[in-house]
C-alpha cells in the first residue's frame, strides 16, 4: 500500500513519456512528408537520392531539395517550436491562458519593424530582406521589453502584463496601417504580405538563427522546470518554496522575447501556434514542466509542419502564406479544447 502513490506517479510519468515519444514520431513523419511535398512533383526516390548525394550536386533537383525544401522545412520546425515554447512560458509567467506572442502584440511590433524597413528601404549591405528581418527582430525584442518593464512598474501584476500587451498590439497595428495607407499599392502589398508569414522567405540563415536561439532557450528553460512548475500553483506558493518569482519572470521573459523575435523576424508573423500548442500539450501531459516543455516544443513544430504541407498542397506553384493556414488549422483545435475544458468544469 505504501508504494501506491509512487507507483501512480511512475505510471503517470511513463504515460507522459509515451506521449512524448509518440509526438516525436508523428513530427518526424510530418517532417519527411513536408520534404516530399512541392510544386515540382519530384518522386520520392529522386528526393532520397538527392538527399543522399549531398548539397554539392549540379542538378536542378539538388537545388530544389537542398536550397529550397530543406531550409523551408527546417525553418518550419524551429519557428513552430520557438513560438510554442515562448507561448507556453508567457502563459506560465503571466498565469493567463490567452497570452501568446500574437495576443501580446509582439508580432505586431515585428510587423511594424518590417513595414518601416520596407517603406524606407532599410537594407544591410544593400540586401533588403536582411534589413527587414533585423528590424523585425529588434522591434519584437523592443516591444517585449516594453511590455515587461511597464508590467514591472506595476509589480508584475499579470493583468497589467496582458493589458499592456493588448495595448501594444493596437498601437503597432495602427502604426503599420498608417504606413500601409500612405504607401503605394505595390509597397502596401509587400507590407501586408510580410505580416502573413510566408515560408518562401526561409533560407539557411533563418534555419541557423532560429535553431540557435531555440536550442539555447530550450536548455536554459529546462533548468527552470521545477520553479516554473511551482509558479503555476500560485505565486505565493512559489515564494514560500523559496523561489525568487520576480527574477524567474525576468529571465523567462527575456528568453521568450528572443525566441519570438528569432521566429517571426525571418518569415513574418504566424498566429495561433504559440497559443494552441501549449494548451494541447497541457491536456496531454499536465502542468509538469519537465514534460510540458519538450511536448509543447514538439507539438509546435508539428502544427507548423502540418500547416506548411497544407499550404504547399493548396498552392501548387504560387506560394500560399503559411500564417493564414495556421490560423485556419488553429481555430478548430482551440475550439475543441475550449469545449473539452467547459465540459470538465
Amino acid at each position: 500500500m505504501e508504494n501506491s502513490p509512487n507507483l501512480l506517479y511512475k505510471n503517470i510519468n511513463r504515460k507522459r513519456g509515451i506521449v512524448f515519444a509518440v509526438s516525436i514520431f508523428i513530427s518526424i513523419a510530418a517532417f519527411l512528408a513536408d520534404i516530399c511535398i512541392g510544386s515540382s512533383g519530384m518522386s520520392i526516390t529522386d528526393i532520397i537520392e538527392t538527399l543522399l548525394a549531398g548539397p554539392n550536386g549540379e542538378t536542378v533537383n539538388t537545388l530544389i531539395v537542398w536550397s529550397i525544401r530543406l531550409p523551408m522545412t527546417l525553418t518550419c520546425v524551429f519557428v513552430g517550436s520557438s513560438l510554442a515554447l515562448s507561448g507556453l512560458q508567457v502563459q506560465t509567467i503571466t498565469n493567463n491562458p490567452l497570452a501568446s506572442p500574437y495576443t501580446l502584440g509582439i508580432s505586431a511590433g515585428a510587423s511594424f519593424g518590417a513595414a518601416i524597413s520596407i517603406t524606407f528601404g532599410f537594407t544591410i549591405a544593400g540586401v533588403q530582406w536582411i534589413g527587414t528581418a533585423i528590424l523585425a527582430f529588434l522591434f519584437a525584442i523592443a516591444v517585449s521589453m516594453t511590455i515587461f518593464f511597464i508590467g514591472k512598474y506595476r509589480g508584475l501584476n499579470t493583468n497589467t502584463l496582458i493589458l499592456t500587451g493588448i495595448i501594444m498590439n493596437f498601437f503597432f497595428t495602427a502604426l503599420q496601417q498608417y504606413l500601409q495607407y500612405s504607401a503605394s499599392a505595390e509597397v502596401a502589398q509587400i507590407i501586408q504580405n510580410w505580416s502573413f508569414g510566408n515560408l518562401s522567405r526561409a533560407s539557411w540563415a533563418s534555419v541557423w538563427v532560429s535553431a540557435g536561439i531555440l536550442i539555447i532557450g530550450f536548455i536554459i528553460l529546462t533548468k527552470f522546470t521545477w520553479k516554473l512548475t511551482a509558479i503555476t500553483a500560485g505565486e505565493e506558493r512559489a515564494k514560500s518554496l523559496g523561489i525568487n518569482v520576480e527574477r524567474l519572470r525576468i529571465y523567462t521573459f527575456v528568453i521568450c522575447a528572443f525566441l519570438i523575435a528569432g521566429a517571426v523576424g525571418f518569415i513574418g508573423t504566424v498566429a495561433f501556434v504559440g497559443l494552441v500548442a501549449p494548451h494541447c500539450a497541457r491536456l496531454l501531459v499536465g502542468e509538469d514542466q519537465r514534460f510540458l516543455i519538450p511536448v509543447t516544443t514538439v507539438l509546435g513544430s508539428l502544427i507548423m509542419l502540418v500547416a506548411a504541407s497544407t499550404a504547399k498542397l493548396m498552392s501548387n506553384g504560387s506560394m500560399l502564406p503559411v500564417g493564414i493556414i495556421t490560423s485556419i488549422v488553429g481555430v478548430p483545435f482551440l475550439f475543441v479544447l475550449l469545449m473539452r475544458e467547459g465540459k470538465g468544469k
Binding site: G38, S39, S40, G41, M42, E58, T59, V60, L63, I64, S67, I68, R69, F112, I116, I118, T119, F120, G121, F122, T123, G126, V127, Q128, W129, I130, G131, A142, V143, M145, T146, F149, I150, K152, Y153, F171, F172, L175, Y178, L179, Y181, S182, A183, S184, A185, E186, V187, Q189, I190, S200, R201, S203, S315, N316, G317, S318, M319
Partner: protein, 402 residues
C-alpha cells in the same frame, strides 16, 4: 533599485514611441494642396467648337454629353497620358490633380514631370492617388468642366458622382490600367476629343494598334516554336520573389507577344497576380527571365529592388539585375546560362507608349524576327514625338550582360 528600473523602463518606452512616430511622420510629406488660381469657368468656355456637344460612352459604360468644349479639367489619374495627347500647353487647363502620394507611388514620373513642368506642383491637390478617395468638397469648390477619373476611383467615389454632375461637372471615366487595347484606344479617343486634339489622338491610336498587329502577324507568319517566359516584378529584392502576372499587365503582354507565360498554369488566368513558388520557377527552367523594375521605396536607398524607368541610369539597372541573377541556383537555369535575361520598366505600363513592351517581349521571344526593333529607342522616340518638353531620360529596356 526599483526606481532605477522604473526610469529605464520609462525612457525605453519613450524611445520606442518617439522612433515610431518619427518613422511614420517622415512618410507623410508632400501632400498639402495649394489653392490654384481659380478660373472663372463660364467665361472661358468657347461656344463655337463644331465637335460639341460631344456625346459618347465612357469606360464605365456611362452615356455622357459634354455640351461645350471644356476649358478646365481635374485630372484624377493619367496626367502623363493627358499631356501626351494634349501637349505641354494642356497643363494650363488642369485646375486640380492628386498630388498626395504621387512622389511615393511613381517617383520617376513625379521627378521627371515636376522638373520639366514645375508649375504642376502648384495645382490643387484633390486626393485620391494612393487610396482613390477624392476630396469631394474641394472638387466642387474648384468646379472644373470635366473631372477625369479611373475605374477604381469611380468605384470608390460612386456616391459623390451624382453630386458632381448636379453641380454641372462632367465626370468621365478612363482606363489604362487594365492594359486592354480597346480601353487604351477608347480612353485616348475621348481625351483627344475633349482636348481638341483628335489628330494627335488618332495618330497615337494608329501607332499603338499597328505596332501590336505587326508583331502578331510577323509571329504568326513564322513557324518558330513559342518559348517559356518567367516574369517577376523585382519589388521585393533578391531575397524574396515578387509578383508575376497572368492575363493582366505583363501577363497579357507576354500572351500578346506569343510567349508561354509560366504563371498562366498557376495564377488565375483572368487578372491573376502573385509571387510564384521558387521551386516551381526553378523546375520549369524557363527560356527567358524578365525582371520588372521601377522606383518603389526611397529613391536614395541602396537596396536590392529592380530599378528601371524615367530618371534611372542604365548602370544602376544593370547592377540591380546582376543582383537578381546572383540568386542561389540561378546559374543553373537555361535563361541565365544563355544570357536571356531582361529588365523592363513597370512604371511605363498603363500609357499609350506601352506598346513598346509588346515589341520588346516579342524581340526577347523571337530575336531573329525582330532584330531591328530597339525598345529603348522606341520609348525615347515616343516621348520626344508627343511631349518633347519632358525630360524623358531613363532606362526602359535592358538585356543582361553576363
Amino acid at each position: 533599485m526599483n526606481k532605477k528600473i522604473n526610469k529605464i523602463a520609462i525612457s525605453f518606452l519613450f524611445c520606442i514611441v518617439v522612433i515610431s512616430f518619427v518613422a511614420c511622420s517622415g512618410k507623410s510629406a508632400s501632400s498639402t494642396s495649394q489653392n490654384s488660381n481659380e478660373l472663372n469657368n463660364e467665361a472661358h468656355k468657347s461656344q463655337n467648337d463644331s465637335s460639341f456637344p460631344y456625346t459618347f460612352t465612357d469606360i464605365a459604360g456611362r452615356n455622357i454629353t459634354v455640351e461645350n468644349k471644356p476649358e478646365t479639367f481635374i485630372v484624377g489619374n493619367y496626367i502623363l497620358n493627358f499631356m501626351l495627347i494634349g501637349g505641354s500647353e494642356s497643363l494650363d487647363k488642369v485646375v486640380g490633380m492628386p498630388l498626395d502620394g504621387w512622389e511615393e507611388t511613381r517617383f520617376g514620373e513625379y521627378t521627371a514631370m515636376s522638373a520639366s513642368f514645375p508649375e504642376i506642383l502648384e495645382k490643387t491637390s484633390i486626393g485620391g492617388y494612393h487610396d482613390d478617395i477624392l476630396d469631394t468638397e474641394l472638387i466642387l469648390k474648384t468646379k472644373p468642366d470635366v473631372l477625369l477619373i479611373n475605374l477604381s476611383q469611380y468605384t470608390e467615389n460612386e456616391t459623390s458622382i451624382p453630386i458632381f454632375e448636379k453641380a454641372g461637372i462632367n465626370v468621365v471615366v478612363l482606363d489604362y490600367h487594365k492594359m486592354k487595347i480597346e480601353n487604351h484606344t477608347k480612353s485616348t479617343e475621348i481625351l483627344g476629343k475633349l482636348l481638341g486634339r483628335e489628330e494627335v489622338a488618332n495618330e497615337m491610336i494608329n501607332e499603338y494598334k499597328t505596332a501590336i498587329e505587326t508583331v502578331q502577324s510577323i509571329i504568326s507568319d513564322s513557324n518558330q516554336q513559342p518559348r517559356e517566359v518567367y516574369m517577376e516584378l523585382g519589388s521585393k529584392g533578391i531575397g524574396e520573389y515578387g509578383n508575376s502576372y497572368s492575363g493582366t499587365l505583363w501577363g497579357s503582354i507576354i500572351d500578346n507577344a506569343g510567349g508561354i507565360n509560366i504563371a498562366n498554369d498557376v495564377l488565375d488566368p483572368n487578372e491573376g497576380y502573385g509571387p510564384l513558388d521558387k521551386e516551381y520557377v526553378i523546375s520549369r527552367n524557363p527560356d527567358i527571365i524578365i525582371i520588372g523594375g521601377s522606383i518603389w521605396t526611397n529613391y536614395n536607398s541602396d537596396n536590392d529592388q529592380m530599378r528601371m524607368g524615367l530618371t534611372i541610369k542604365s548602370d544602376m539597372s544593370h547592377d540591380r539585375l546582376n543582383g537578381f541573377m546572383s540568386r542561389e541556383g540561378y546559374s543553373k537555369l537555361k535563361a541565365v546560362q544563355n544570357g536571356e535575361v531582361y529588365g523592363v520598366d513597370h512604371g511605363s505600363l498603363r500609357f499609350m507608349g506601352d506598346y513598346v513592351y509588346t515589341q520588346a517581349i516579342a524581340k526577347m521571344l523571337y530575336p531573329s524576327l525582330f532584330e531591328n526593333i530597339d525598345p529603348q529607342k522606341n520609348m525615347e522616340d515616343f516621348y520626344n514625338k508627343y511631349l518633347p518638353e519632358l525630360d524623358s531620360t531613363g532606362t526602359y529596356y535592358i538585356k543582361w550582360e553576363k
